[in-house]
Assembly symmetry: C2
Homo-oligomer: 117 residues x 2
Amino acid sequence: MAKADSIGQLEQLVLTAILRLGDDAYGVSIHSTVEELTKPRAVSLGAIYVTLDRLESKGMLTSRLTDPTPERGGRAKRCYRLEALGERALKESAVTAKRMWDMIGSALGGRKWVKEY
Amino acid sequence: MAKADSIGQLEQLVLTAILRLGDDAYGVSIHSTVEELTKPRAVSLGAIYVTLDRLESKGMLTSRLTDPTPERGGRAKRCYRLEALGERALKESAVTAKRMWDMIGSALGGRKWVKEY
DNA sequence: GCCATTACTCCAACAATGTAAGAGAAATCG
DNA sequence: CGATTTCTCTTACATTGTTGGAGTAATGGC
């Protein structure tokens, strides 16, 4: 393994989406939440599933299959749940991200250096 | 190339350090600034140089060799300068990082969920 | 029942990035 | 000169990112 429990960018984004989505975190909803974060950059659905698999095998999250919903095409979903290990890794990487944001802000003079967002 | 101008985690950290260091951005100083951000996680010097090379070949930064300083062992340094392309990529990824931070914060109830930092 | 359609999951192959470990060059000090 | 210190750069490999498409279920209309 690379190191303790470091995670990559997409992994962070995926964990964040799961945290936010709570009980309704499954492939497609996670995908759209992630794209909300990376906008305007797109992310393919496949990338999400691959990342989900890897995070699960690292023990950062667990999954279960739900019953199909009575919607057109609504088939069974695999819902994910954030585990303690995953939450810890997410928080740690978020702190680094925040420090970076602050450093950039102060280096650029504290003024608003970005209008979007 | 992966996509437009997306950059990885270490790349973001390195660009941030260069922005912050201004005229004194070279391998060793960048390394210590990056570790200040990732603390308590360590990063090897080699990782920094490799990343610097890659960023330079992408046109995100340029470098020049400086004259040696009159210090014990003070040899010539290769100083880096952030180019427009790099600054743009950094800002973009920083915005995503900030959105993630905010989403985590609101998902966790707005309370202070981390004491360190 | 069948078929078109929709929502969703998962795999395989490849590209980019992250990381460690160590070799090697240049300068100062005694 | 030789020891020491600061710094750069390379190699080799591990992990993560990304795409594109295959495959499975369920619904609704005919």
